[in-house]
Symmetry: C2
Subunit: 86 residues, 2 copies
């Protein structure tokens, strides 16, 4: 499924999430990760997030399980999401 | 449809996009907007982005047209996406 993860965490904790999310996703923008994962990978990632979570952290995981219903458009100076995996 | 917009633009241009995106979406995190829009609203928003776009700006619009296939999970200190509309 298509997965987008965004985080907003204290500056000193960005490296924790960057490292965690890079394991399975592409780093699309400063605090935005994107990728196509299996359900098992999504569950594992969520478990990893839960383990690292501290009270001031804010993370949202968006999932779209129907590839036909999912699309994106890019504007300006940006790599196409997914292009770094091909 | 469910729409997520993320931007990564030079600091002095964040206010341009914040203003533009707030017209139709909820400001979820620093550079992340979320909402449920009609196809017409998405088209209008994209036209607005195109008009404001400068070479160093980077914007990605994700769309999921099947509500049943779309879900999200939040971790930590974050409002549920959509909660500010209810």
């Amino acid at each position: 499924m298509h997965v987008i993860v965004v985080y907003d965490v204290p500056a000193e904790r960005t490296s924790v999430y960057r490292k965690l999310l890079r394991r399975r996703l592409e780093h699309l923008q400063y605090s935005v990760f994107y990728g196509e994962l299996t359900e098992g990978q999504v569950t594992a990632m969520k478990n990893d997030i839960q383990k690292k979570l501290e009270p001031d952290d804010s993370i949202v995981v968006f999932e779209s399980s129907n590839p036909a219903a999912f699309e994106f458009s890019t504007f300006g100076d940006v790599d196409e999401p997914g292009s770094r995996f091909t």
